[in-house]
Symmetry: C2
Subunit: 444 residues, 2 copies
């Protein structure tokens, strides 16, 4: 297959009238369109305006998609205990599958080809199946919560770890190794020391299994951990084994100098989620400082209840402009830096090699965008357009592992209307009352 257009192979390589030649699951070569057309005339050609690597979503809650817009303008604990946890506790297996499909549909439609996906406590199998069947690449994990958690989410430590291990054995490396496993404790506040240490042991027992959790998103969280352990949150995570090159920490808004040093020393990955941090008023993560220290930073949309979209393009713009205004410097977090966060930064965090650039021998995760719109007129620089001007709505072609998931804006691997209809039906009948009563007892 030949994918033709202006090729943004990586943050510093733009090929006008370019082409990405895909054979099987791999990019065979990237080069001049005419030359490759002559050389490989029998390969089908897909034409678009801009061809780029598929985006890696560094922190996603696909199964929260049914809660898009359910809790606006709330205090954080109202948001969490009145809506989000009750919703996760209430959804049946079929509803969780529908929620995951809705999330993955949006990822495919808007250009995210790999998701580091924080599922829920129950029914994780259904999300693994949905991601695998819909053709996405992902690092997914069932959530562990063994304290300070409402009924329906709270599990005994041993049960949570055993269920995680069952899922590792079933799904890690599944679907042609597109789907891999991350052990996913929710955050230090809702996990005991035994649970967190067990997560590290579990990850170490299986080759390639990683760890993904929330860390230092807001001040009440770090205060709680400090009260529990006498330590800063990142130091505590380090103490129990949850730092390192196989660990992805979402948010890291509130970290002190010693914690940042620790993140850098241990090679821990940080996922920045600017839209979520803005809407939930968490704070501004010190992303430029992290990058200066050599910390790998990925970019994530978090979940639809706090964003309200999984569009990675508006997230890129947000990541750049939030740093600029916070530091009062319009030159920082420039287009190249942000593009790398959303591609190679995410790929490193997810642990897939040969991912995040369009290069010979690399994985064929490729997206195509239209520029036939007023918002892309005129178009002086295609790379900065992707960061500041493009929208998920511009994505018209999505390819993962050489398989076309969306072409000409039509999703091929799923029935988009059916997924939306099912989600709307579930939302219409969603009754959170009982789960909300349970959860509210735990509200600080």
């Amino acid at each position: 297959m030949r994918v033709s257009g202006t090729v943004i192979a990586d943050s510093s390589t733009v090929i006008e009238d370019g082409c990405v030649l895909i054979e099987g699951e791999t990019i065979r070569t990237v080069g001049d369109r005419e030359r490759l057309a002559e050389q490989y005339p029998d390969h089908r050609e897909l034409t678009t305006d801009i061809v780029m690597p598929g985006i890696v979503g560094g922190h996603i809650h696909s199964v929260q998609s049914l809660g898009r817009g359910i809790a606006e303008d709330c205090e954080l604990f109202d948001w969490l205990f009145d809506y989000i946890l009750p919703m996760e506790a209430t959804l049946t297996a079929d509803e969780m599958a529908a929620a995951a499909r809705l999330g993955y549909l949006e990822l495919i439609e808007t250009g995210t080809t790999t998701a580091i996906d924080h599922l829920s406590v129950a029914h994780a199998d259904r999300a693994f199946e949905a991601a695998g069947e819909m053709g996405l690449r992902g690092l997914l994990g069932k959530v562990l919560m063994d304290r300070r958690s409402p009924d329906g989410l709270l599990e005994a430590t041993a049960d949570a770890l055993a269920e995680s291990e069952r899922l590792i054995q079933k799904y890690h490396g599944s679907f042609g190794d597109r789907i891999r496993y991350a052990v996913t404790p929710r955050f230090a506040v809702s996990c005991t020391e035994a649970c967190l240490r067990g997560c590290r042991e579990l990850a170490d027992s299986y080759d390639g299994v990683r760890i993904h959790t929330h860390a230092s998103e807001n001040r009440s969280e770090i205060d709680t951990v400090e009260a529990d352990t006498g330590m800063g949150n990142i130091h505590w995570l380090d103490e129990v084994g949850l730092t390192g090159e196989d660990v992805v920490l979402a948010h890291c808004v509130w970290t002190d100098d010693s914690e940042r040093e620790l993140l850098a020393e241990t090679g821990t990955h940080v996922t920045h989620c600017p839209s979520s941090n803005m809407k939930l008023a968490s704070g501004v993560a010190p992303v430029v400082d992290y990058l200066d220290r050599g910390i790998n930073v990925a970019l994530g949309n978090d979940g639809p209840p706090c964003n309200n979209t999984l569009d990675p393009f508006t997230e890129m713009k947000q990541a750049s402009t939030l740093q600029k205004v916070d530091q009062l410097d319009p030159t920082i977090a420039d287009a190249e830096t942000i593009f790398e966060m959303a591609t190679t930064g995410g790929a490193k965090a997810a642990g897939f090699d040969r991912l995040g650039k369009l290069k010979a021998g690399w994985r064929a995760d490729v997206i195509g965008l239209s520029t036939e719109t007023t918002r892309a007129t005129p178009l002086y620089d295609p790379l900065s357009h992707l960061v500041y001007g493009a929208r998920g709505e511009d994505v018209e072609l999505t390819i993962v592992d050489g398989e076309v998931l969306m072409e000409d804006g039509e999703v091929i691997v799923a029935d988009a209307d059916a997924i939306r209809d099912e989600a709307n039906d579930i939302a219409d009948s969603l009754d959170l009352e009982e789960a909300r009563e349970n959860a509210q007892r735990l509200k600080p």
Copy 2:
């Protein structure tokens, strides 16, 4: 004409299965769809998902549209003196017309029906004609710059004022009073005292003519004014007559307590431009404080070179979430507040009565949005969806003064492809070298 859907008549009025009945330029009534269909069976029905008042863009630079993406990640003075001023100085009359058409096309496509539009020094006639012909409502003004300005933009004070008066006489109240005039000095830095005082005199000489300028957008600007006058910028503007109920000040990021008090006392309107303030690293305007003081705040996209879009929906989201993260409070700048800024707040600033709500007897400026998308699934609350979830791309119907400008996503009043093609052609051949050399001599 009947426009049917879920009607958001204002920030506190939602009518499911509602209808807006339009006769001529006016809304005759708003109510139940079935009832109005029975009562007015001969009126054509247009159906959409969400019906709402057209957005009022409180600070727009339509003619900067040709500079979308031309200057990314720059220091502010590089942005201004290397790109923006040279571009404004270089464009011919035909190119200025093309730039304006591109801007107005984007407004129509994304749901802004009234623009408070900061034009350029030269060729303003062409923008007035374009706005009028394309059916928009607007408060437009030619820019005055009589010092610290490059060749091609610098004018003698008397000439700048005389040209403004000629345009007032020609266009104020034109196109069925859809188009009105705002005297538009660029900002205090590039205007002499005589010019600023002349602007006030001119505005006072013509009924309904207003004043629109930039104020206190960034720190170097307020430092310059302080050095020039020994006064804070808002105090200086007040001194020369540029505060009051007929004055719209864009940005107002850097104001002290006494200046805010002055804005409140004088009834001066402030237009908040969050995306621009973020990308140019200007700072975070104290919007919630302004609202608490009773200052009317409108919302604006500023220009494509600093945004990069004129989409008012992403601007609403930005306005809310930037305040939340800045104040670390997720409950402030809520959906209702932001919706009002983008509708009634803008209408007050623009000075058009009966504008910004869907009410019997009010002006028939109405837009319709689709919710048949993944990003609108599920949809718990249509009002908060408009602020946090909707996109300009969702707008499929745009009506101003009862005239349909766009229907089913197709712009009727202009050839969208031709406008985009022309803009791309001009951008391809744009040569800023000479104007840039002129402008750079003035760079601080």
